[in-house]
């Protein structure tokens, strides 16, 4: 009877079929009564023959009846689908006894790294999916509740609540495909925990099964996943023999300058990372607008990262598709390409902030504009626009290459904060100190003390990047040019670098890094009320040199990764009467849920894709026209396929307060959930067939 306690009947209603046992019994009885009567000439011989066998015949009939009844019973039991619940495994592995109801949530890792090819040629996603299907198959139909959470950048469950419809879950798992996202395991586990906590059967044993590729970068940054203590956590990894597959990846593409001008040398670079213990040599191809234009061979040592640069000049303005590519038979093919969109401009935008009228000769804005855009047209290398200090708000400085602050009455706190944020985000700023200088401590490399006669800039750090445009002749000319009224400064910051000193040795031009950007401050001004500097040609050279160098900052915009929203700015004018707009995804589909609007700062049209699922180029199309593009690359952390060892993973989970957690490989322990036990119906059918074969064999033997 103890053994019977571990047999579960899947369809007990089918036990009604046991009534079919009446069939062979009825046949047996009918066969006895319906025997034919034959009037025979003489039965003397027959009686003498049958007398010796009558007892054997009775035994034989009973034996046949027994065999037939047993066969019918076994067939009926096969339809009942009995399951043998192994007492050792069902309690030890899951803590669940045969009579309990289980609530299980399977967290299935569908991140980009699960596309890696394992040693047996199978992808990690395939193995995880097969294991998920196998685990769901262990659940007892009609008894256990389950749900599946797909762990990508935006974890989502198949159903809102736990369900007994395991078949639907299995279909969902079988239809799942790996994404290009980075897995948010913390979010997925939190969602799973919430589903388990919301399950309305308090007595059910709760299990959280995480099927993952065990990527170290995922689990090291698990974050603050909240796991209830009454949930048993089981983590199964693909178990790729604890050896990370060799992978070479491209990522973090950059262009310098971020918005290059036409014909301006532009440095295009990409980071190539090699995750392997053996060195390798790869060729990196550069494609611009789908045309292969350059390539480089790179030798990489074990686990080395290297940035590889190409210098190109763009012949036309507009957005260009930059693609880096390597040919490598590594484990993950998804990161063998990197995409980038470079917006090439005909004139680099420069904003001059000042409260004086820039069109009035003698003002700083006037001289700066004349120095940077002397032709006031397309022949100029810079596009100078003017902005009052009170207009420095919000995204007013977005997209500009350089901000020059000239004569300002007062740089208020909002404008100062906006300017500071712009610089910290990688912007460049030149602060000119006129009679009413901006006294921003957050930006200035020094403190301004008092204005006085400035002398001449006779000493300069001519090797500094900001002054490399100065020729020897220009240096001599500057040394002979009076700077006019110059501010004396003090408290020079340690990180500041003095670029020019006057003949008294006092710093008059210095630069400092602020955040990701750079600030250059001048203690003088070209305005007419401080001197005649603005009237000299050397001032033009100085401004051109500073602007040229300060606007070569890299494109430091936050990279776009799959799973996050992306914004695509329209590079061309939007035709309001044109055909419908659509965003084309890298795989040629049309993105859903796109919001089209206007950027408040630049007043340009912007399309926002709520979730970018795939890595590659997203293209904003209006009919055949392309309005804008954006590049999405997989998170570089997904390229590191090294697996976190089971002990370290268990330790990580312990630190998260998980009371009962088991970590093993998929191939180590077979099924983690063993509620279902082993089906016995196959054995039942085999037994029934065996009995029928025995019956036929006996009949054949007896006839013979």
């Amino acid at each position: 009877m103890n053994a019977l306690a571990f047999i579960s009947l899947t369809s007990p209603i089918m036990l009604l079929g046991a009534a079919l046992v009446a069939l062979p019994i009825a046949a047996h009885l009918l066969n006895r009564k319906a025997r034919q009567r034959v009037v025979f000439p003489s039965v003397a011989l027959l009686s003498s023959v049958s007398a010796s066998q009558s007892s054997f015949f009775k035994l034989r009939r009973w034996l046949l009846l027994l065999l037939r009844c047993a066969a019918v019973v076994l067939v009926v039991l096969a339809f009942v689908r009995p399951v043998w619940l192994n007492p050792a495994s069902s309690t030890a592995a899951t803590g669940t006894t045969s009579g309990d109801t289980a609530a299980v949530v399977v967290v299935l890792d569908v991140s980009a790294s699960t596309r890696q090819i394992l040693g047996d040629g199978q992808t990690a996603a395939d193995r995880l999916r097969a294991q998920a299907v196998r685990e769901l198959g262990q659940l007892r139909p009609g008894t256990d509740y389950a749900n599946v959470v797909f762990a990508d950048a935006n974890p989502a469950a198949v159903f809102d609540v736990l369900t007994r419809n395991v078949a639907a879950l299995r279909l969902a798992v079988e239809a799942a495909t790996p994404s290009d996202h980075r897995a948010d395991l913390a979010g997925a586990m939190s969602l799973a925990s919430q589903l388990l906590a919301d399950h309305d059967q308090p007595d059910a044993a709760r299990h959280l099964l995480v099927l993952t590729d065990g990527q170290r970068t995922n689990w090291d940054e698990l974050g603050d996943a909240q796991l209830p203590r009454d949930v048993q956590l089981i983590v199964q990894t693909v178990g790729n023999d604890n050896t990370a597959a060799a992978n070479t990846a491209l990522g973090s593409p950059e262009s310098r300058p971020g918005r290059p001008g036409v014909g301006v040398p532009t440095e295009l670079s990409v980071e190539v990372a090699h995750f392997s213990d053996t060195p390798t040599r790869v060729r990196i191809d550069l494609l611009i607008d789908d045309q292969e234009v350059d390539s480089q061979w790179v030798r990489l040592t074990a686990n080395q990262r290297k940035r590889v640069s190409f210098t190109r000049r763009f012949e036309s303005a507009g957005q260009h598709r930059i693609k880096y590519r390597i040919e490598s038979d590594d484990a993950l093919a998804l990161d063998n390409t990197a995409a980038q969109v470079v917006d090439c401009v005909r004139r680099r935008p420069v904003i001059v902030v000042g409260d004086a009228n820039p069109d009035q000769p003698g003002t700083a804005g006037y001289y700066v504009t004349r120095a940077l855009a002397p032709h006031n047209g397309d022949r100029d290398r810079f596009l100078v626009t003017h902005l009052a200090s009170t207009s420095v708000r919000g995204d007013a400085l977005a997209g500009t290459s350089l901000v020059i602050v000239g004569d300002v009455d007062r740089l208020d706190r909002v404008a100062e904060a906006t300017l500071t944020r712009y610089v910290e985000d990688g912007g460049a700023c030149l602060l000119l100190a006129g009679n009413r200088p901006a006294r921003s401590d957050a930006l200035l490399p020094w403190q301004l003390i008092a204005q006085g006669s400035g002398g001449k800039a006779v000493d300069g750090e001519w090797e500094a990047a900001e002054l490399t445009g100065f020729s020897v002749e220009a240096q001599d000319t500057l040394a002979r040019t009076a700077l006019g009224r110059v501010w004396r400064v003090s408290n020079l910051l340690p990180e500041a670098r003095v670029l020019l000193r006057n003949d008294r040795g006092e710093p008059v031009l210095a630069g400092r890094p602020v955040g990701d950007g750079r600030v250059v401050a001048a203690a003088f001004s070209p305005s007419g009320d401080t001197g005649d500097l603005g009237k000299y040609g050397v001032f033009v050279v100085l401004m051109q040199s500073l602007a040229e160098r300060l606007t070569t900052r890299a494109d430091t915009r936050r990279p776009d990764f799959p799973g996050r929203p992306i914004q695509i700015a329209a590079a061309d004018a939007v035709d309001p009467r044109g055909p419908a707009h659509r965003i084309e995804t890298p795989d040629g589909q049309t993105a859903a849920g796109v919001v089209f609007g206007l950027d408040s700062g630049t007043a340009s049209a912007v399309a926002t894709v709520p979730v970018s699922d795939r890595a590659g180029f997203y293209t904003w199309r209006q009919g055949p026209a392309t309005l804008g593009q954006a590049a999405v690359n997989i998170d570089p952390r997904e390229s590191d396929l090294r697996e976190l060892p089971s002990e370290a993973l268990a330790s990580t989970l312990e630190q998260k307060g998980v009371a009962t957690a088991s970590v093993n490989g998929i191939g180590d322990g077979g099924e983690a959930l063993r509620f279902g036990g082993a089906g016995l119906w196959g054995w039942m059918l085999m037994g029934a067939l065996g009995l029928l074969c025995v019956e036929m064999g006996l009949l054949g033997g007896w006839r013979r």
Binding site: R35, Q36, R37, V38, F40, S42, V43, L45, L46, Q53
Partner: protein
Amino acid sequence: MPAAAAPSRYLNPAELAPLRHLVFASRRAVVGHYAGKHASPQRGHSVEFQDYRDYTPGDPLGEIDWKVYGRSDKLFIKLFEHQSDMTVNLLVDASASMGYRGLRSMGVGGLDKDKRKRRRRLFPSPQAPKPPTSKYDHACAMAAAVAFLVTQQQDKVGFGVAQRGLQHAVRPAGTYPHLHRLTGLMESVRPRGPAQLAAAIHAAARQAKRKGLLLIFSDLEEDPDAVLAALNRYMHRGHEVIVFHTLHADELTLPDLSEAIFVDSESGREVRVDVEDVRAEYDAKMKAQLDRWRRLLTARGVDYNLVSTATPYHEALRGYLFSRASLM
């Protein structure tokens, strides 16, 4: 044979035509009233010389061989063979067991009714189907054929039915009307009850005045000792006995049945058997029983012949006559 003879179930001229040239004769000498073609222990006036004997006073002077007297001066009487007519008695077993026609007549086994109908529709027969032949029918047909041959060769044939002893006994005669009387008598008898073959043989022996042949058509479902005793007594009087052991094909080889209750046709006794299970043993015992009859009868000089209803009677009879002629 008269042209206006009434048709008989047991006498089919078409089937008997091939048998006309055959002669049914006795292996032993027979005694008859009239001159015939069969050897007789009597001396007569035939052309066949047999022997000489000394003359004794009173012998007819015409029988003295004067040529021998002229050569030897002794009187010898010349003896010649006498050929007589033959008397054949037919004894047919009419017990209930002889009425067995097989399982098909009872609707048991073989094709079921629907299948027979379907087959009849596909292969229509121009003639009405013949009813199955019983052992009695087969025996009567053979007996009638023998009677026909005997009558044809101008011998006498008698008839009797073994049914609770000898019944319907008819004295021997050699005319065609007598033959038709016999066949009519055969048709009028219905097999039933026991045969009591021994008593019938005893009665037949009492009625047989002269040496002749006794042909017994029976399935021999009798006590062998009693039958053998009766035959011994019959044969002791100089008669020749021929036994046609007539059995149905179902008796020789059990029919194809699974399980059935077999009811004895005479005693009503029932036996439940699975035919397939007992077939082998039954065959062995049947063979042993047939061998026993053959051994017992041939040891007493009885001509024993096993006849199956599966073999048409005229073929069985022709085969028997050929084999008998080869032994004479």
